[in-house]
């Protein structure tokens, strides 16, 4: 054991003994080196302070290990029941899921697989291995859909989900889903899209093992209601809205706004829109005052709106569309009770006869963006 030196050995401390100046010097020197358990302070010992025996307990939440810690062989960081490793600052995570090799399920459209295969839907890999190729190079790999006239659902493998952490229902939320794609051919027109249609891109959850009804989902439901638009219509003056209500505001001159959705986050007075169409702040999280309502932009709603067909085609260049979720509502994925799917509603060429008029699109990948990860418990 390491101790500070005694000033004198035992056995000399008789009552007649009077400590000398040397003794007081040693005590003063020693006390100047010891750790003050009352006042605290900072020390920098030249060798580690090693505590064996009964060990040390940190009973204050203010304890910090700013220099890091290291276990030696057999040493363990042992977590008691309900104790977890948390992050001082919320973390984020992005995962890319290639759609190469993904087979759309038939949950949304029971006959979509038949259409998919009969129409020659194929995987597509890059040159020089053109076995799967249906579109010519230089297009890269992905899921090629053509002549698929109905929405498809793509189950998300668990490797691409970030399971909700143990801290709370906001621990590790899905903030956005981005679909990367190329339109391979300029359509003559476009149909099956709009405010009342199934969005081009959607994400939703369904009951997993806990669902005992054995009834397959009949349609796209919303991921914990965040995408549920209570109203999707033309903006009108002096219209009533309530706190928390979602809205996709468009006017005859602002169709581009139809790809964005907003939520009432503040309401004063009767909760009516203003008298003129406001200038909308389309930055996610940005606010817009409209009459006595305050709208907060949630972000993209998955609807595909382009001002022109040329813009839709974009000469076959890579494109992305992002669907933002309302993270003011808990959107952490509960993979114990649900499974999750991405829905794609392939747009149709209105100038061609259905059902073989799907605009040829090569879907490359889906990227998932998780935010507010609070603990090391929710990963997959």
């Amino acid at each position: 054991m390491s101790h500070l030196d005694f000033a004198r050995p035992g056995g000399v401390w008789a009552n007649e003994f009077v400590p000398g100046a040397g003794d007081f010097y040693r005590w003063d020197l020693a006390q100047s080196k010891i750790v003050s358990g009352d006042l605290g302070g900072s020390w920098a010992p030249i060798k580690p302070i090693i505590l064996g025996g009964a060990g040390v307990q940190f009973t204050s939440a203010a304890t910090q290990i700013t220099g890091g810690y290291r276990t030696q062989t057999g040493g363990r960081l042992v977590l008691g029941a309900h104790d977890i490793i948390t992050f001082a600052d919320p973390r984020t995570r992005k995962i890319t899921m290639s759609l190469l090799g993904v087979t759309p399920s038939s949950l949304l459209a029971p006959n979509v697989m038949a259409q998919f295969t009969s129409a020659g839907g194929k995987l597509y890999t890059s040159a020089p291995d053109t076995y799967f190729a249906k579109a010519p190079p230089p297009f890269a790999s992905g899921l090629f859909l053509e002549d698929v006239g109905q929405p498809i659902a793509i189950p998300i493998p668990k490797a691409y989900t970030h399971t909700r952490g143990l801290n709370n229902s906001f621990d590790g939320m899905l903030a956005s889903v981005t679909l990367n794609y190329r339109v391979l051919q300029r359509p003559g027109g476009i149909s099956n899209f709009g405010l009342t249609a199934v969005p081009f891109l959607s994400i939703y959850s369904e009951l997993g093992p806990g669902d005992t009804t054995l009834v397959p989902p009949a349609g796209p439901s919303q991921l914990r209601a965040a995408l549920k638009f209570s109203s999707s219509a033309f903006w009108e003056p002096s219209s009533p809205f309530t706190l928390g209500q979602y809205f996709v505001p468009i006017s005859l001159t602002s169709v581009a706004l139809a790809g964005t959705y907003f939520k009432v986050t503040d309401s004063t007075g009767p909760g009516l829109t203003g008298v003129t169409f406001p200038t909308w702040n389309t930055t996610p999280g940005g606010t817009t005052v409209d009459g006595n309502l305050t709208w907060t932009c949630i972000g993209g709603n998955g609807q595909l709106f382009q001002p022109t067909l040329d813009a839709l085609y974009d000469a076959g260049a890579p494109q992305s569309i992002t669907l933002n979720l309302d993270t003011s509502i808990a959107q952490a994925l509960d993979t114990a009770n649900h499974y999750f799917l991405v829905g794609i509603n392939p747009p149709q060429d209105s100038t061609l006869p259905a059902p073989f008029n799907t605009i040829p699109i090569l879907y490359h990948s889906i990227q998932f963006h998780y935010v507010n990860i609070l603990t090391l418990t929710g990963q997959n």
């Binding site: 400590p19 025996g53 009973t59 309900h82 190469l100 090799g101």
Partner: protein
């Protein structure tokens, strides 16, 4: 508060009253027991040293002894809180720096080229993907470990009963695919599509009805990055003379190393 007791009450200290030697002996003993914050050292207290109040900051590199460790109190609800980007790290040689993941060839998302997969319930390998012997393709999305170095992929298959060695043996390549579909082979001959073939067996008995392993070394320095990439194995069935229906493709074993810590995998 269980800090060192005073030698005597305040009333003990009276001017003109001699202080006994026992007082100084106790004083001397207690100072010798204190932690030396300048020189450091080793102590084995018989009771736990409990530090509450403003807590303790361990500002230097701190180490637990072999077999010892840090333990949160059961049910205390206390947290090990890690600052930005901090995670528990693994020293070289740690068991968790090495990870093997098997992906079944009929895993979710796996797909064969149309018409070239007969069944997906082979015998004796239940659940294997059974190919038709005409060069059909099988695409397998691989389970990977983010941040790890991808060292080796190995395909396990069982060849059908053959009367001769096929003209072209099965082959495989492993590649990364970025968000916009570009394919990057991770092994094989540089500048090619990256396929590696099963070595031609010396005799038909070394191939027919035999479980075989196709090793696919990954290029040096390939670190898994799931932020931007997905990973696949693409398998091409045998073809040519003596090729036959019934090769069973079971799984791809991926070996990862240089895992540095408890990052999101």
């Amino acid at each position: 508060m269980p800090n060192p007791r005073m030698n005597a009450q305040e009333s003990f200290y009276v001017n003109g009253v001699p202080i006994p030697a026992s007082y100084f002996q106790t004083l001397d003993a207690r100072q010798s027991q204190a932690f030396n914050a300048d020189a450091g050292g080793t102590w084995n207290p018989i009771g736990q040293v409990a530090i509450a109040g403003a807590g303790l900051w361990l500002c230097g590199p701190s180490t637990t002894a072999p077999g010892a460790g840090i333990k949160t109190l059961p049910g205390s609800g206390k947290r090990g809180v890690h600052a930005a980007a901090d995670v528990p790290l693994f020293v070289p040689g740690h068991d968790l720096r090495f990870h093997i993941l098997d992906t079944a060839c009929n895993a979710g998302g796996a797909q064969t080229s149309p018409g070239q997969c007969s069944v997906t319930a082979g015998l004796p390998i239940s659940g294997a993907v059974v190919m038709s012997g005409d060069g059909g393709r099988l695409l397998v999305p691989l389970d990977v470990h983010n941040g790890a170095t991808f060292a080796l992929a190995a395909l396990t298959m069982r060849a059908a009963t053959h009367v001769g060695i096929p003209g072209t043996t099965p082959s495989m390549r492993v590649y990364a695919v970025d968000a916009f579909g570009d394919v990057i082979p991770l092994g094989g001959v540089p500048g090619t599509s990256g396929f590696v073939s099963l070595p031609t067996p010396l005799s038909v008995s070394g191939y027919s009805a035999t479980t075989l392993t196709l090793l696919y070394p990954i290029n040096a320095g390939v670190v898994i990055d799931r932020l931007f990439f997905s990973y696949f194995a693409e398998i091409v069935d045998e073809s040519g003379n003596n090729a036959t229906v019934g090769n069973q493709y079971q799984f791809v074993r991926s070996t990862f190393n240089a895992i540095t810590g408890l990052y999101f995998p």
